[in-house]
Symmetry: C2
Subunit: 747 residues, 2 copies
């Protein structure tokens, strides 16, 4: 019986076990169905191995080849050379092995300004009807590139056509104070031609500022002091012997103060779009203006009659810089001569293309990380912009391959933009922002701009919204500098440029995007999208060059980059690694790698500067800064609470809506600072923290400029405007704080 019972029991146990097994594995549970695939997908965070793989794959040879193709011919906006780059970008981004999910072109009909090929602009020294001397019309050729018939004559784009003749004066940098000083000294500038050097004031401002003094024309040149560390001889010192600007090199550029297509403000420039009349364009020089090389400039300036210009107006020419009589010395061969400008610039409507490429996101296709650079140059544009485009193409090659081989797809959608007509005023990116304003505002996480990727070989330079400091630091810590296995881009950057942060101690000095220097402008200022501008740049201990010397000249060629800017292309590689790393983290992290507390620190710094400089006088005028202080405090506290929420949240195993909620707060933070009515006279500037400012103080721009004006005028209505800007920035900051506060806090 015992045996039977045992047998029964054992048999029963076996059957029982089999029953358990069948029950466990054989029947689907109602209460716990297998986890759906999407539960895994939404919990996929940035893959550090993939990031490392990306870094390893960035290839100097590829970048060099990209640059070679991109710079074969001059590719000024809307020319045949530009069209060739459009086709090249499309070919690359539509490549079946290394291309993106999709790529296409989008054309805008935009207002551009060119010199007349048949009637070149002329600058002459004349005595009556006799031409005593002529300024050269093209740059000297050292290589065939400079002789390419498609090298555009140096000119001031959007400078008006016209003829001007008068006695020459030297007006330093063409700032208002420069003209004032000159006018006070000479008694009158009426009917004069001013020669000014680049720097100190915007291009257009040099003409803009001159006209009210009666100046009838302006020449602009680059002083060797500002660009060449004083070097002047092309026999040994300048290109082709070094990176320095040869004596005949001329910086071209847009001479307009605003960005975007000038005939269609706030509207995308399509065929049927309403256009303002040309006469209603603002922000361009009212008088003829023409840039020239420093050799020609020297020949003029060194002949000028006294009085002698002040010390800080002097440059590198081997002579005293005088104001001009007006006009030349009696001892000069130009005695009694006038300078004559004949400018034949013509504006016209042209079709300019953006080339767009995309990798669709897997989990959040409706969140965009945008990476862009312009494609158009003034001449061959090897540094500006092709060094950036070469880097972008290397990034897309690697990411495209990862997608095509099904090894990777970003969590969020990644959009690449190759913008057109940037050199004429950031036009392609601005029109894109205008056309897609709603979609981009609703969905864009960040914009990464890499225009000139390598100014020089020394260190990373980044400017960005403070919320992005964290991800730029993180990426730059992971990448090593050229030629080192140990020194990170971050550490090297800190050595070159640093600041003491109340939060972190010594950190690299990241800049802010306060102007409209490249295509980030429409994203940062108009759309309030957290933007970044990344490049490699100078060792400031070694040069005081205002910018790389061949900037906007016919010497900015592949040869120039290959020999002087980045032989071996390792700085390009470093930028590609860093910017690509930033891109991957933004695209793939479950939680956006943004830190609102870094924004708080910036606001506190801005507040300190504002209080220190304005509080006494504001108070004296019955205006209290307390609401602003309160707003900054509330922002800090909201940022802290958001970061507590983040650090206490298990976003991986929680509903993806939790991470999305936090990400929306971070994504939309910069949007909260937009006020479309704050700066009615500054096209496209809506961000009340980063809008351009005239004041030199690093603080809230609207407030700073309004206080500066009120202090000067002493007028009651100007103090009222200061109060208004104080309220505008206060409301923006406290409004932004509301968006960061826990959703469960009081609304």
């Amino acid at each position: 019986m015992l045996k039977k019972v045992l047998l029964f029991t054992l048999g029963g146990a076996a059957v029982f076990t089999i029953g358990i097994l069948i029950g466990h594995f054989g029947i689907k549970k109602n209460t716990s169905a297998p986890l759906p695939q999407w539960v895994h997908e939404v919990a996929q965070d940035v893959d550090e191995n993939l990031v490392e793989k990306f870094i390893a794959q960035v290839d100097t040879t590829q970048i060099r080849e990209n640059l070679q193709v991109l710079t074969r011919v001059p590719h000024m906006a809307t020319t045949a050379g530009d069209e060739a780059t459009v086709e090249y970008m499309l070919k690359r981004w539509q490549d079946k092995d290394t291309g993106l999910d999709a790529a296409w072109r989008e054309d805008y009909r935009v207002y551009l300004s060119f010199p007349d090929k048949d009637k070149p602009n002329k600058v002459t020294v004349v005595r009556g009807s006799e031409v005593v001397a002529s300024i050269r019309e093209k740059e000297k050729a050292y290589y065939p590139e400079q002789d390419d018939p498609n090298v555009v004559q140096p000119y001031a784009a959007f400078g008006p056509a016209g003829h001007a003749k008068g006695k020459l004066v030297y007006a330093n940098q063409g700032k208002v104070t420069d003209y004032e000083h000159l006018n006070n000294t000479l008694g009158s500038l009426n009917g004069t031609i001013a020669i000014v050097r680049y720097g100190g004031a915007g291009r257009a401002d040099k003409g803009f500022n001159a006209a009210p003094f009666g100046v009838v024309g302006v020449l602009v040149y680059t002083d060797p002091y500002d660009i060449n560390d004083g070097k002047m001889s092309d026999e040994s010192e300048t290109y082709p012997h070094s990176w320095y600007l040869p004596p005949s090199g001329v910086e071209r550029g847009s001479y307009s103060t605003s960005f975007g297509d000038q005939l269609t403000p706030y509207l995308a420039a399509k065929n049927g779009t309403y256009r303002i009349e040309e006469k209603d364009i603002t922000g361009v020089s009212p008088i003829p203006i023409q840039p020239i090389g420093f050799e020609d400039a020297m020949n003029l300036i060194c002949e000028l009659e006294g009085p002698e210009a002040p010390e800080n107006w002097q440059g590198s020419f081997p002579c005293k810089y005088n104001f001009g009589g007006p006009g030349f010395k009696d001892t000069s061969r130009f005695k009694d001569c006038d300078v004559q400008l004949d400018v034949y610039n013509k504006a016209e409507l042209r079709d300019s293309a953006n080339v767009m490429g995309v990798i669709w996101g897997s989990v959040e296709p409706d969140r965009y990380v945008i990476y862009g650079n312009h494609r158009d140059s003034w001449v061959h544009g090897a540094v500006d912009p092709s060094s950036g485009t070469a880097v972008m193409l290397e990034i897309t090659r690697i990411l495209g391959q990862l997608v095509k081989t099904e090894k990777w797809r970003p969590r969020r959608t990644v959009i690449f933009g190759s913008w057109g007509a940037e050199e004429f005023g950031l036009i392609g990116s601005a029109e894109y922002a205008e056309e897609y304003i709603s979609k981009l505002s609703q969905r864009t996480v960040a914009y990464i701009n890499v225009d000139i990727s390598v100014f020089a070989n020394a260190t990373l330079r980044a400017s960005a919204s403070p919320v992005a400091q964290h991800v730029i630091f993180a990426a730059s810590k992971q990448v090593k500098i050229p030629g080192s296995d140990t020194v990170s881009v971050y550490d090297n950057w800190m050595q070159h440029s640093n600041r003491s942060s109340p939060t972190y101690g010594l950190i690299p000095n990241m800049g802010y995007l306060t102007g409209a220097g490249s295509d980030y402008a429409a994203f940062m200022h108009y759309l309030g999208i957290s933007s970044m501008d990344i490049a490699y740049t100078y060792d400031r201990r070694k040069t005081r060059a205002r910018i790389y010397p061949a900037y906007h000249t016919a010497y900015d060629t592949f040869d120039y980059v290959d020999k002087f800017i980045d032989p071996g292309f390792t700085s390009h590689q470093t930028v590609a690694r860093t910017a690509g790393n930033v891109l991957l983290r933004l695209a793939d992290s479950i939680l956006l790698p943004f830190k609102s507390s870094d924004y708080a620190e910036t606001l506190e710094q801005y507040l300190n500067v504002a209080v220190e400089n304005f509080n006494t006088e504001l108070t004296a005028n019955g205006i209290s800064m307390e609401p602003l202080k309160e707003a900054v405090k509330s922002f800090r506290s909201a940022a802290r609470s958001l970061e507590e929420t983040i650090s206490s949240s298990d976003v991986v195993s929680n509903s993806p809506l939790k991470a999305r909620r936090i990400n929306d707060q971070l994504m939309l933070l910069d949007r909260a600072f937009l006020n479309p009515l704050a700066f009615p006279d500054k096209y496209g500037f809506r961000h009340v923290i980063w809008a351009s400012r005239s004041s030199a103080l690093a603080t809230f721009p609207g407030l700073a400029d309004a206080v500066m004006k009120a202090k000067t005028s002493g007028l009651k209505q100007d103090w009222a405007q200061a109060h208004k800007h104080l309220s505008i920035v206060t409301q923006a900051i406290s409004g932004a704080a509301h968006t960061l506060a826990e959703a469960h806090a009081a609304l």
Copy 2:
């Protein structure tokens, strides 16, 4: 043996079964862990049983009691009576059994205008210094309510203080064309006082339009023709015998054309906020203006000298309405008399409170459904606004109870707003929108406004963004009209007011929110939040009353509602059920119950009207409507594609990010139509489809008004402005289409 085997087998089978059961239920699977709780939560859709329960619980007695408490005393903005309602709202919303999750007050310091209690405004008929007659300063008391010392004297809020004296003229409705006609007939209106009736033009416009003709003061009255279906006698015909206005009743109101606090445009009116100077306020009458009752008006108008006014200027008085000599007939007791206005209105800064209440969302706490109404009245305000507040309190009582008993929590956050100072220009809601602009713009799904909930007993009336038509229809189909178990609110509505839709055939005629008639204005026009305005209203076959007759008078009391507007409170109940149902669907549906294709239909209608009326002349002026047609077409096609995505998506078993993506597209659709620069002269109007317009044509407002102006002037620059508005609306529509297109479509 058989028995034993059988026993063994049976025993084995039992054990086997138990094993299966244990295996199935008792052991956690590794490969398929139990679904996390949040997977269930995010898949919870609107609960129809709960909706039915809500509808059943809406209680007429509760609403009646709410109204009784709310209307005990006059509660004009910022008075003691208003403060009592603030406390009552807080008490109700903080109640431990029926309250909300949280409730609080938010105060703004706003600019209001009041008569002087010690020096009442006076209107007199004078002959030299002799006062021949005086207009009554307060309304006749039929009940103690009218004798309450806190009944404010009838006045024109924001009308300037001042003294004006002149011969009387009758100027119909005070439209520009009325004054023109009168001026042309009489030769001059210089130095006259005009008497005008309500209707046809906005309150402020009646003074605004008069001043350029030299008119020095304006009297405004309500003609019995317009409000009382001609009835005039308080002995039998008017209140207290019916809902009609008694002869001494006076409509108070704000005489300002813009909304929001007038000293702080675009800034929340806090203590330290920048304020413009009073002299810089625009949109208010430049000359004294005073509303009076129709009995007094009759005594003046019937004494006026000829010529006789046109037929459509005549009203219900038993006399011919003449223009005035100017002045009175020689046969009149007022012969040679002037009319004199002495207005003592004073503007001052006062603290006005919004009361806010919230039920936090479970799954998407960062998505808001806002439901609001103003709290302030002119006098007792039983209909306006307390009928709406009584309904809101009944909705919050039921929802609060559901939350407190843990039976329900909405998917999204529900916010209730009891706005202050609406009567002075929608101030509380506008300041709220200004202060929280970023947060509200980013997160708000919809705004539901129920101001006056019951104008009359006949039918539902709803105005809304077209995207919300669907949910209003759905809710109104589920609710029955008072006194019927079978007729739905929807069917009854269709009987009273319908239109033929190309998509649906005959449907109720939902209106649009084209003006700033109540607190939806800041949400719809300034923030671009899809808004709704819901009420019960008249049978237009039975009355031509411009509005319910006691509007803004001392007769708008609980007694008036209880006896004449809605005895039994069943229309209140019906509105509560319908609006509450809309609220629940917006708060709880996984997919927002919005239809973008309904927006497409509206845009197509607007386009048709525009093409029909403007195309010929636009074309003649070289302006093509093709881009607008293309934009509307692209919107339709994008809406279709979104709806295909929706109908092919299994959002319940998919990642909640899929539904969120679609919901974001729907939530942000109205936002895409905002253009903050489109209407620089119209405060707060940023929505290019719904902004107020002067043109009578139901089409795009900026385009319509610009074309109207250009047609009148024939000026080239006016046609350019028409072109500009065409481009603005084209870009807005195509921009909105971009946001609806599949994320995987070209950007």
